[in-house]
Every structure is written in structure tokens, then in C-alpha cells.
Symmetry: C2
Subunit: 390 residues, 2 copies
Amino acid sequence: MAALNSIAQSARSEVDDPSSLLLKLGPEQPLRMDSGAEINRLQIAYQTYGALNPAKSNAILICHALTGDQHVANVNPVTGKLGWWETMIGPGKPIDTDRFFIICSNVIGACMGSTGPASTNPAHGRPYALDLPVVTIRDMVRAQAMLVDHLGVDRLLSVIGGSMGGMQVLQWAASYPDRVFSAMPIATGARHSAQNIAFHEVGRQAVMADPDWRRGRYLDAGVRPAKGLAVARMAAHITYLSESALHRKFGRNLQDREAPTFSFDADFQVESYLRHQGVSFVERFDANSYLYLTRAMDYFDLAADYGGLLSAAFKGATARFCVVSFTSDWLFPTSDSRAIVHALNAAAASVSFVEIESDKGHDAFLLDEPELFATTRGFLNAAATARGVA
Amino acid sequence: MAALNSIAQSARSEVDDPSSLLLKLGPEQPLRMDSGAEINRLQIAYQTYGALNPAKSNAILICHALTGDQHVANVNPVTGKLGWWETMIGPGKPIDTDRFFIICSNVIGACMGSTGPASTNPAHGRPYALDLPVVTIRDMVRAQAMLVDHLGVDRLLSVIGGSMGGMQVLQWAASYPDRVFSAMPIATGARHSAQNIAFHEVGRQAVMADPDWRRGRYLDAGVRPAKGLAVARMAAHITYLSESALHRKFGRNLQDREAPTFSFDADFQVESYLRHQGVSFVERFDANSYLYLTRAMDYFDLAADYGGLLSAAFKGATARFCVVSFTSDWLFPTSDSRAIVHALNAAAASVSFVEIESDKGHDAFLLDEPELFATTRGFLNAAATARGVA
């Protein structure tokens, strides 16, 4: 278990002292949040790739998903694995670092260096835990806007993200219509559905049912609600895959055995796989961050902030949009993307829509999907040309 | 909490001394199981409705689902609620007690009076817990056949059940082809899919992660893994409903409040509903039974017992079949039912197939579905006429 422990230790040290660029905001720049609360001395951890051009017109913001982080295109300092979008971002790749300046920041509420529930509360030197105000998608985007200001970028060439990242993309277009030249929300929705809220609630209940959660104060006690968080991850992981992908990968195949054991061991490969997903997630992710970020997704309902009319959210949008969904994604089905497209149409925005045929489910946006790469490359080329980026 | 505790106490007393008819088998009649193990001094709790005719040709066996029991058409002695299929079974109802003799037994492995992990092991007077051999669908059906023998019925007019009950129906047709005159598998499959195994594994892990599970020996310690079982139930419950049913019932409506609380309370109605489902289930159901019955479903793969060819399972079947699915059931989608129909066709069996339009998801078979009632009534009338039942 030494390797696992070193991952967990590394994850713990990234919380306050991340291996990333760091923006530390002073007490004169608190983050004012949707709840009415403020975070003082906010910290934002981020990575950049490529170089900002003199016109500052080639900056692209990548927004990460629930369990992602800012390490999109470099080796992850905790897991030692390649960045989560290495296939998408790099020299000559669809999001071309030879041409564009790419920014990705850890969202607030997470656990990779931006202020989150595991961060040390400067007020008393212990972790925030549940004293951190509940975070919304709009709060995350507010923090990103402060970072983009800090980097001297007025208007982003593009904002791109999938799943919870896609929610941030939509929020950017609504909150800062003049600062977004193009936007690419992928495998996402303008609001979280009742079924998605239900799955998140199961995960939160699993975490909070673990006696080692200790009402969120587990770090003070030197323990972690590992079993509860693993169960939460297992349940969520099923929703990231399609039924056909699970069938193709595992079917009813047994794990390292010829016949069922007539026991409660992980007889089936799919059981063994899920248990592994649960255990490995726990090493790298903070349980309270899981509560905060799932809550942020559940609260997301962009239309609600605009009198219930989604098109009103995009009324002032100047961006060109490319909306992407995947046929086998049942967490954010194509109907969610269509609702976004209809609202953009009603707002007379420039929008293209691509539904990609894939049997990989929601996770398709993270995987090797040539049509997604081609779509992204084409969309960014057109945006760059329109904006006069070389 | 007094009312809840009385439900839990009542559930506990039903385990060994049920308010049901009881078949107690002697040591000379052990249940020989798929695992190679035996259960000695098996106990089978059952209910009957209507009267067996002199020709003994009007008996119908109802097979219950994972969390169901034998109380199909009488007030449940634990919950005080109406039987789970009161809409279907009774005088003049689709399964007409004025005409048919209806039998329903608690499956072995469950907790309402048939031998299960909470039952007292006659060998030492403590609960079996995990000492009970793992149970399969075929083992459940073997026990039911012993009960049907005891009741003096050679051939059942019909075997009917939904979900796990439908698996038993299919197993009856395969194991006892001469004893089944007609069969109605509803909202089920001939094998459990990888996705379904995955959801069950999440539930089992949630139970086993609860420190009060105590490796299955919680009853000895006077505790129960209530939190873990509640999480398991919450996750499963989502799969019983369709996304559209959840949306129609709850959408994003808030629970008894005007605005989100920016906390981890159950802000949304769907969260509150799920928590209630979890908590109320725990009062009436045994956690180890949940492990055993989910495992039985996971192991179910009827074709595997017949060289991988499902049609071979039905080779000797003399029954007429009526296979039923629901359009919005994503746990046992219509494709699962079609696979059964194709195999029955290949075995030259008599089969009709009805896909019922419903947005209620898997649970539709338990709900007020007029087309299901009409289909059942018509199918049973035809079977009764063919067999000469008045």
C-alpha cells in the first residue's frame, strides 16, 4: 500500500502548496459568492500552455469537470499520469499550444490548490471543512474571471469544457458576454436534471454515512471517509459509461476465475473494475470537495437566474458557439444540448451543433473520439481566423 | 421514531415466526443448491388466495421481486400497507381470486419467513448471517417447487412475476417444463447485464462499508447497517424510475422552501424523497438479505446453464408465454425481453409479446398500468379456457 499512500500524501500537499502557478488574492479582493458569503484571501491554482500573443487575442480557457483538475496537458503531480486532455491539447493538436495560450485553473471548492474545503482557513489555520461557503458554478466562473484579469486578458478567444466544465462555459457566456469570443460546451446541460441530482445525493449520503466523515472535520482527526467516498465514486462511475460500453468492456466475464465462487467476492470483472475505481479515486480526491462540487452542479440552473427563460441568459452573448453531445451519453443526453441550441437560436446567437455517434457514454469527451478532435480543431481555426489570430 | 421502531421490530419477528402459512421441511428433505451446499430444515413462508379446484388445475404462482414478499394481496404485517399487487390480484381483478388459486411464497434468502440470512440457524440457534449458502434464482425455484408439491399441485396454470420475479418465471419454464401451463415474465431478462451487476455491487459495497455490518454478524451485536443499506436502496431506487418519471414527479422543485439553502440539506424534493426511500426501506428489510438477493440476480444467466444457447433452455417448454416490457424501463429494457422472445421462437414455443408504452420506468409493473391489467386478464382467460378451467 506504499504507492497508494504516497499518492494520498501527495494529494494532501497539493491542497495548500500546489505544483502549479498560483494566484493569491489579498483581503481587498474577496470572492463575493451567490450565497451572499465571501471567501477572503482566495487562492487559485492554474496551469498555462503556449504563449500569450502581443494582442492578447489567443487565450483559451479550459474548464475542468467534477473530478478533473488544472493539469490538462502535463503529468499530474499526484497520480503521475498524463494530463486528462493530453489527446486534445499540445503542439499541433486540436487545441494547439503552438498557436494558442491555454489556461486551466482548478475550480474553487476542489482540492488541487484552489481554495476548497480541505484548504487551510487563514482565519484559524485549520481546514475550512464545511465552514467554506457552498460554491456555485457562477462562483467558480467569478474566480476564473479574476484569474483572467490577472493574466491581462480582456476577451478569451474561447472557453471550452465538458460536463461540469460545460456548465462553466455556459455561465461564462451568460455572465461575461463581452469577454467570450467563442464557446464550446460539451456533453453538458443548462441545468442539472432530477435524475442527476438523485445520483449526486446518493454519493453525498454515502460520504456522510461514513463515520470517518466526522461531520466534515475528518482532516482534523487524521482520518478520511474513504469507504463512503469510494461508494460514491462507484455509483457515479456507472453513470459516466453507457450500458453498451460496460457490456463491451466486461459483459458478464468473471475476474481471474473459471466459475462463480458463490460468495460476495468480486466475481465479475465489472465488480472488480468498479472497486478499483472507488479505491483509486479516494487516494487523490477530497471527500468534502466531492460534496461541494456535486452540490454546485445540482444548483446549476442557468435559466432560473434569467426569469426562467434560458434564451434570456444568452441575450447579450456575442460569442459563436459550438455545442457537442454524444449519442450514448445518458447523464447529459443530446436533448440537454438541444435545449441549449434552441435557446441560443432564440437569442439569435451564432451556433453550430454536433451530435457525435459514440457508444462510450458521458466519458466520451475525455476519450479518443476523432470526430470531437476534428470538430474542436475546425471550430477553433474558424474562431482564430475571425479574430485575426495568426 | 416510535412508529419506525415498531416496523423494524415487526420485521424482525416475521423472520422466524411469520404471519403467513408455513412449510417446514424436515432434515430428510434438504434443499440442494447450485453451490453444492444444502439447507437443512428449510422453512418456506407463503400466502394463498382463492381456492384450489378439485382438478387442481387453477393454481397460479406469483414470484416476487427483490424487495417484495409473499403479501401480494393482503395487508402487509410489517408495513401495514396494502399488498404490493392489490391492483392485480383479488375478486374480479385480472388475476381473479374468485376463479384461481393463487400462491406466493417468500423467496429463500429473503427476510419475511422463508429461510434467509436473518433466520435462526437450527444448528446453533443464532442467525445464519453469511453462513447461509449463496442462493441462486434456480435455488429459489427449487424451493417453490417443493411448496407446490406440498400443496398437491402437479402443474401450475401460470407462473407470473416481474423483475427478479420474472427471472424465476423463466427458470420455472426451463427447470420444470411439464409443470408450467403458462408463463408471464414481466420487465425482466434472461441474464443480468453488466450495468445491473454494477449497480448491485455499489449497493453491496455500501452495506459492507457500514461498520455496523460487522462482517454480517450485526444481529448478534444488536446493531444494523442502516446507513449503508439506506444508501444502497437510494441508488437502486433511481434505477427503478425513468428519467422522465423523476422529472415529472420532482423536476428541480425545492422541498418546503422558497430558495436554495446553500447547504447540504435536502433542498430538492427528489433528495428528500430518496432519503425517505432509504430510511423506510431499512426498517423493513434485512441488510444481508439484500446482499443475497442482489447476488442471486447477478448470477442469473439462464443460457449459461444450457451451453450458452438461451433457446436450449426452453427446448422442452410446453407453456404458452406472454412476455411484457415497458418502453421507459432502462433496468430491463425491451431488448432484454426481445432476446427472450427470440429464444422462445427458436424453441418453437407459443409466445406473445407486449411492449407497454409507459413513462414510469421499471416500477411500471407494480403501478396502475391498465394495459398490463388487460394483458394479464386476457392471457389468463385464454390459458384457463385452454386448460378447461371454469
